[in-house]
Amino acid sequence: MFSNLSLGQYIPAVSLIHALDPRGKIIATFMLMLAVFQAGFSQQLAVLCVLIIILILLSRVNIKMYFKALKPFALIIVITMIILLWLTPGNIRFEFVNIRITVEGLVAAASLGIRFTILLLLARFLTLTTSPMAMTDAVERLLKPLRFLGFPVHELAMIMNISLRFIPLFFEEADRIRKAQLCRGANYQEGSLKQRIKKLRSIVLPIFKISLQRADELATAMELRGYQGGKGRTQLNVLRFHWRDFIFLGVLGIILLFIMF
């Protein structure tokens, strides 16, 4: 039930993309996302598609892992596309009984579908190739200038880090409880709606209780090891830009400039 839901899952591999500095990757991903929004529905979008396919191939992560990210959103994308197809006025291209499909509708639906898919793939690209640790490190570094305005950068990064780690735990916990209940003859598919809701409750309640317990344990464990916030805390892996990061960002930037202008 929960096993095919994989949020923010990092897949380690030896690839050019994995080796890049996470800050560079975050910047690159945002540049690409902006470009996808800005690009016209023309060669611009087509070239962007090719560029992103190349990046995906470079990441050397199984393509299946990318498509997993699309699955939960597939229905929303398709429904939105159908609505656009149906409601956009313009030159009528086909006409069934009383459904009119316009050229503008086709363009709008395709454009939205493609853009949305690319955005999801890009987000996935970033999370698949960057460990949560590296990601929070990078966010902390990128936001560091804001600290002088009194913005709690370190705390924000810590919250992000912990939530990123808790999401998979949450699903593992749900899976564990589901297994334990299956073992004792639970059958979620059976019974009236009311009975099913009751069964669902018997999973959800323990998950929340156990997650709170985990949070408590984590807080204690951190305190035990003398954690007291960002001040004076040194870091284990100091991020450093290498020549490959400059080349990657440079090349990407030049390509994007060519495409967009």
């Binding site: 897949i11 199984n62 334990a180 209940q181 299956l182 073992c183 004792r184 323990p206």
Partner: protein, 289 residues
């Protein structure tokens, strides 16, 4: 209903760099009414095998047939029924306990089976007694505030309450004190003898396995590397040694003597007999030490 396992394969995290073949082409037949012990080093796939038997994991290849019915062909509803027949106690009690109070925890299974409240309560009381928890004292207590050993026993009670035909236990004696271990093993033996329950127990303690089991299966790297009756265990002594499983002291003595040609046939479950044989042979002075 025998359990037949054929060429079973299970792989964790297939398609990632962490891919791990946990069960590798394993075949095994478990007959009705047997009492089997499974040993093997850590990571040899014992827990994975039990979860496959209970259809909590789906094999990548191979078949499991229970009473001639293939697990892979079963509908969800049939599987739910089957899991009540094949009770499984998880390796870690924390994996198994999810209710807030002890009564609810144990009653979860019986209620799923459609028993009425009176019958379910009877089951709860009975199975709590079987694991040495006094129902009067424990029934209302919170599951979160139990000691490790109490949690272990509660987890076992939750499964016993199903009154399954097959009982799969993953290291049930771990974390229990001596007295509780004996109580548990005695109860399991009784379930086997009186109710004819088929029992499969994973354990790292050869003494516990010899104490209870008639057949011993040794696993290594996801497949069966020895499958003997406990009387014949010494024939597999070499394999045990290779896997770093220690013999019990009395077995060790017999094994050492046999390597010098003493030829003592023995049932490991009856060390007194070995003692007698050794003194007899020494009295006859027919062998050198």
């Amino acid at each position: 209903m025998p359990i037949e396992i054929e060429n079973l394969v299970y792989i964790y995290q297939k398609g990632t760099p962490f891919e791990k073949i946990a069960i590798n082409n394993l075949s095994l037949k478990i007959n009705d009414g047997e009492i089997i012990g499974i040993m093997g080093v850590t990571g040899s796939g014992k827990s994975t095998l039990l979860q496959l038997l209970n259809a909590l994991l789906t094999p990548f290849a191979g078949n499991i047939a229970i009473n001639g019915l293939l697990l892979s062909k079963m509908k969800k509803k049939q599987l739910a029924k089957l899991r009540q027949q094949v009770g499984m106690v998880f390796q870690y009690p924390e994996q198994q306990i999810f209710e807030e109070c002890i009564f609810d925890e144990v009653a979860f299974g019986p209620l799923n089976m459609g028993l009425d409240e009176v019958e379910a309560e009877k089951r709860v009381v009975e199975s709590l007694w079987q694991v040495g928890l006094d129902p009067q004292l424990y029934k209302e207590r919170s599951t979160a505030k139990l000691s490790g050993g109490e949690k272990r026993r509660l987890a076992i009670a939750g499964i016993l309450a199903l009154n399954p035909r097959y009982l799969l236990l993953d290291e049930p004696t771990a974390g229990l004190d001596q007295e509780m271990q004996t109580l548990l093993l005695d109860n399991l033996r009784e379930l086997h003898q009186i109710r004819g329950m088929t029992i499969v127990m994973v354990s790292h303690h050869l003494t516990h396995i010899l104490d209870l089991c008639e057949r011993i299966i040794i696993m290594d790297n996801g497949s069966v590397c020895a499958d003997t009756s406990s009387d014949q265990l010494l024939n597999s002594a070499l394999q045990l040694d290779k896997l770093g499983i220690d013999l019990t002291p009395s077995l060790e003595v017999v094994h050492q003597l046999n390597q010098k040609g003493w030829g003592i046939a023995l049932s490991p479950r009856n060390p007194e007999q070995a003692g007698r044989l050794i003194t007899e042979k020494l009295a006859n002075k027919s062998f050198e030490l």
